[in-house]
């Protein structure tokens, strides 16, 4: 999550009058890691998300993997879930969509830490 992924050339960024070609699929021009890198996080030492890996192993839906807007939950080859609390928007989606009772314990990070949306 934290490693930098090279940006694919944003072809349109310098042209104000860039033409739109209908019916042509536009590639997501920027890698997700670069997008989330625009947001400021003052990471706390203590994780505010705790995932019970044993419970996750029995989960067939993996809704957190799809729904977390920060893409913090990643399935592993051996049927577990890897997660990262560092770039968390603190939205609460993961514990609400979680089907497995008690798999995700979620609280707010320590005061002063976590996501910091910017003033203009």
């Amino acid at each position: 999550m934290n490693h930098h992924v090279a940006r694919e050339a944003p072809a349109t960024s310098h042209s104000r009058e860039s033409e739109f070609r209908a019916n042509e699929a536009i590639e997501w021009p920027v890698a997700f890691d670069d997008v989330i890198a625009t947001t400021r996080f003052d990471v706390a030492e203590q994780a505010h998300i705790v995932v019970d890996a044993d419970v996750c192993r029995d989960c067939s839906t993996r809704d957190c993997v799809v729904a977390c807007p920060a893409k913090l939950f990643v399935p592993t080859a051996d049927g577990g879930i890897l997660f990262n609390y560092e770039q968390c928007f603190e939205c609460g989606t993961c514990y609400l969509v979680c089907n497995e009772e008690g798999a995700i314990s979620w609280s707010y990070p320590e005061g002063g830490h976590g996501v910091v949306f910017r003033r203009s």
Partner: protein, 435 residues
């Protein structure tokens, strides 16, 4: 009664909390305003439009100092299908002059400003401090909060929980009867940098005038909504997604935004914009269907913590509801402290005030709206019906003569498999809800 540190502790320096703290400070109460972020507004995001007229009484002339990006003078409602768009575009020049109507603003700016006004009135703002739980008497009455500071217990006569959509305090107090993912939507937004003159040209506005585009049908198979708002030199583009649908459809939020940005009607507005910030937040979408009990013994709940956000399709508001509920909670707390009864009965003035003003009246009137707006037919079928009808009206496929509107609608309705009685029933529900 045990000794207390403050008359009232307000948890969360968002719009509800800061308005509550202002009212209490002006009433001469000792009030502590707790904020878990490093500054007020640092944890907060929304689509981008605030309706501040509710501040006319509390902060007269608020527009002189409010950190506004642009004043919304153009409001568009857009129906999208995969390759069609129908827009109803309304412009109103007077919305660009005092007392204004809606404004685009960044929440870290707006909330910081509002909290500073509370401080100026005498509220004590303490940031970087998370309220971790409620302090209770043996009989269960709330008498303060625990915080994550050393020796961080704070005792108060009344606690006002303005701790946002996840409100752990309201949940701890048992004020929520259920906690159903179906009641929430996830808002995800990209803030895209573009030069001001490019935004002015693309959106056809000048100076500080701005545009609010609300979109139905822009979220693919996931039920929800989408938006594009103009800030001064950024454009906010985002989606609001129903949680269970998002999980069920196996589509990631950033993919849905990418598809929206590539739509022929949206791409020319946002092309070339560099992502300045990516953000997400939950929205308590279900209105009356999810609203908790508003008071416990020693405790009031306001703003998103009490699901006051109004998500009623053509009206999408929240900050104004939060500010009004915060003010009402503060008045009720002041009244209860004066009467020496801060039990839930003593705090009943809160619900009475909300029932008397727009907060609960709008929610009650629009109680059917969230379900209707997020229903499958309104989300996926009717936009196609309307767009196909308009396309058939304006398509000139001579030598065929023009078909009548009624024939077009009937043909499209049948083609999309819409039963007439469903259409009639939804029309009646829509009329009852919005009429």
């Amino acid at each position: 009664m045990a000794e207390r540190d403050y008359d009232v502790v307000v948890v969360g320096a968002g719009p509800a909390g800061s308005c509550a703290a202002t009212v209490l400070a002006r009433a001469g109460r000792r009030v502590l305003l707790l904020e878990r972020g490093p500054f007020a507004g640092s944890k907060n995001m929304y689509g981008g439009v605030v309706y501040p007229r509710v501040l006319d009484g509390l902060h007269p002339g608020w527009w002189e100092s409010a950190p506004v990006q642009r004043w919304v003078t153009r409001r568009s409602t857009m129906l999208l299908t995969a390759d069609q768009a129908l827009t109803v575009d309304f412009r109103c020049a007077s919305w660009g002059r005092p007392p204004y109507n809606g404004a685009t603003a960044l929440r870290p700016d707006f909330d910081h400003w509002l909290a500073a006004l509370a401080e100026a009135d005498g509220a004590e703002l303490v940031c970087s401090t998370t309220a971790t739980g409620l302090l209770r008497d043996p009989d269960g009455t709330v008498v303060g909060v625990r915080t994550d500071r050393p020796d961080g217990d704070v005792r108060a006569g009344v606690v006002i929980a303005c701790d946002g959509v996840n409100s752990f305090l309201a949940k701890e107090a048992g004020l929520f009867e259920h906690n159903d993912a179906d009641h929430y939507t996830l808002g995800v937004k990209e803030t895209l940098g573009l030069p001001k003159d490019v935004i002015d040209e693309r959106f056809n506005v000048r100076d500080r005038a701005g545009v609010d585009i609300e979109i139905v049908g822009g979220t693919g198979a996931v039920n929800g909504g989408a938006f594009v708002y103009t800030n001064l030199d950024t454009v906010a583009v985002g989606v609001v997604l129903k949680l269970p649908a998002l999980a069920a459809q196996q589509r990631r939020p950033e993919e849905i935004i990418a598809t929206l940005k590539a739509h022929p009607a949206i791409a020319p507005l946002v092309e070339g914009g560099e992502v300045k910030e990516y953000s997400a937040h939950l929205i308590p979408e279900a209105g009356m269907a999810m609203m908790p009990k508003l008071a416990g013994d020693g405790l009031l709940v306001a703003g998103d913590a009490a699901a006051m956000c109004l998500a009623a399709g053509i009206w999408l508001e929240g900050v104004n509801f939060a500010m009004a509920s915060g003010m009402a909670a503060a008045e009720a707390a002041d009244e209860a402290l004066a009467a020496g009864d801060t039990s839930r009965t003593g705090l009943a003035g809160y619900a009475r005030r909300l029932s008397g003003n727009f907060v609960l009246r709008d929610h009650r009137k629009l109680r059917r709206a969230p379900e209707l707006v997020l229903s499958d037919r309104v989300q996926h079928v009717y936009p196609q019906l309307v767009a196909n009808t308009v396309e058939a009206m304006f398509r000139v496929d001579n030598p065929r003569p023009k078909p009548g509107l009624r024939r077009i609608v009937t043909a499209e309705r049948k083609r999309l498999g819409i039963r007439r009685r469903d259409l009639v029933r939804d029309a009646i529900t829509g009329w009852k809800t919005f009429g």
